[in-house]
Symmetry: C2
Subunit: 240 residues, 2 copies
C-alpha cells in the first residue's frame, strides 16, 4: 500500500526544504493566530482575511467595513481594533462578520506557503484538532505540518501540535522525517498536561504571554476541539 508522506517544518525558515505543491499544508500558530481563526469561524464569522501588514489590515478595514485585528510582538497592533485572543470573538460579536487579521508569525507563514505554490492550505490548532486530523486522513494527500514558531525560531507549542497530529494520524502516512518523530516524542511527554509541560520547560512563549497576563488564553489554546471546524484558504480568505 502506498501511503502519502507527512513532513513537519519546525520553522518558516525551513519551509523551503519541502515541496508544498500538491499537498495539504497545515499552518500552525497555536499562540495564537490559528487558535483565534478557529474560534472566530466556529462562532460564525463569515470569513477571515489574513494579511501580512498592519497597514493593509487598516486599509481593508476601511474599504470593506470589516473588523480589523492583529498583534505585533504579542500585543494589539497600533491602529487595529482587536487583538489576537479567542476571547475577543464570541458569537454575539463575530457572527456574520468579516475579520481582517495580521499577526507576527502565523499570517506571514500562510502567505509564504501561498508564495511557494501551496494550493491547499488549512489552519490547525488544538481547538480544531480533530477536524484537521480527520481531514488529513480523508484526503489521502501528502501533508506538510508547517509551524509558525516565533520570528523563525522553533517553539514548543507549535511543535507539540505537530506532534499531536503525528501521534493521531501516523498509521495513515509514510513518515521519513526526523522533525515529525521528534515532535511526536515531545507530545507524548507532554500530553498529560500541555500547560504544565510548557511551564516546566520554560517555553519562551509561556513567559511572553504570561507577562501580558494571558495564562487563561494559553490554557484555552491548549484545549482540544473547543472550536472544531476546518478553516481552509480560498480566494485569499479563510472560510469553513
Amino acid at each position: 500500500m502506498n501511503r502519502p508522506s507527512l513532513y513537519t517544518s519546525l520553522s518558516p525558515a525551513l519551509l523551503h526544504l519541502y515541496n508544498v505543491r500538491d499537498c495539504v499544508v497545515v499552518v500552525i500558530d497555536i499562540l495564537r493566530a490559528t487558535s483565534t481563526i478557529a474560534t472566530a469561524l466556529y462562532n460564525g464569522a463569515k470569513s477571515i482575511i489574513p494579511v501580512d501588514s498592519v497597514e493593509k489590515c487598516m486599509r481593508l478595514g476601511r474599504d470593506m467595513e470589516c473588523i480589523t485585528a492583529g498583534e505585533r510582538d504579542g500585543k494589539i497592533a497600533e491602529g487595529l481594533q482587536y487583538g489576537n485572543s479567542s476571547f475577543d470573538y464570541p458569537r454575539n460579536f463575530i457572527e456574520g462578520k468579516i475579520l481582517v487579521l495580521t499577526t507576527t508569525n502565523g499570517t506571514k507563514l500562510l502567505h509564504m506557503a501561498v508564495a511557494k505554490g501551496a494550493t491547499e492550505i488549512v489552519t490547525g490548532s488544538f481547538l480544531n484538532f480533530s477536524a484537521v486530523c480527520n481531514h488529513l486522513i480523508k484526503e489521502k494527500k501528502n501533508v506538510i505540518l508547517a509551524c509558525a514558531g516565533w520570528k523563525d525560531k522553533v517553539n514548543i507549542e507549535d511543535t507539540l501540535f505537530a506532534g499531536a497530529v503525528v501521534s493521531r494520524i501516523k498509521e495513515h502516512f509514510e513518515i521519513n522525517c526526523d522533525a515529525s518523530q521528534m515532535a511526536n516524542c515531545l507530545y507524548n511527554n507532554a500530553k498529560d498536561d500541555l500547560y504544565e509541560f510548557m511551564k516546566k520547560n520554560d517555553a519562551s512563549h509561556y513567559h511572553r504571554l504570561t507577562n501580558f497576563g494571558l495564562e487563561k488564553d494559553i490554557r484555552h489554546c491548549l484545549t482540544e476541539d473547543l472550536a472544531n471546524v476546518l478553516p481552509y484558504y480560498v480566494d485569499e480568505r479563510l472560510v469553513v
Copy 2:
C-alpha cells in the same frame, strides 16, 4: 548572578537567527563528521583541515601531502582516499598526520559559522562529550549549539547531542530557547539507549547508514567519551 546564554540552532538554515560573535559555537555532526574529527585528533592526528568541496580536498592533498577524506551522501566521495568513519583512523595510521576532510553537512556548517563571524569554534560529539561540556562551563561565555542536520533538515542525533549538553550544563547558563528545551526533553527520553531510540523513532540517518551496513559506526558514535579531546578551530584547521 549573570549567567551566560545558551541557544541551540537545530539546522544550518536557522543559524542566522543567532549572534555567533563573541560566543563559543559548538559544531555538531554526530553521524559522522564531528565524531571522526574527535577520533582522529584523539589518535594523534596533527591537525584536520575541514574544506567545503571535494576538489579543494584533492588539491590540498596533492599540495601538502596529507590524507584526503570525506563523504557525499554518506559514501566516500570519488577522488578521495578515505571515508567518514572513526574506524578509518586508528592511531597506527593517523598519528602525526594531517587530515583534509570534507563532508555533506558538518564541514559546511563550520565554514558557515566562520563566514558569519564566529571567532571561537569547537566541534562536539558524544565521543568527546565531557571535554566539550567542561570547556563550556569553564569558559563562561555565551554558547550556541549548532546542529548540522541533513541538508538543512533537522535530525534526531544532532538534536540528541545538543540535549545531552543542555542536560549536563544547564545550571551554568541562562536558557531562554525552546529548541534547547526540546532537545533536552528528547535526550531525557533517549538517554537510556540512544541507539534503540533512533531505531524506534525511525531516524532517517539510522536508515541511511544502516543501508550502508554501518550499524557498528552508529553505535560507536553514540558512545560517550571514547575520544575525549577538545577540537578547536584556529588558522583554518582543527587542533587539540
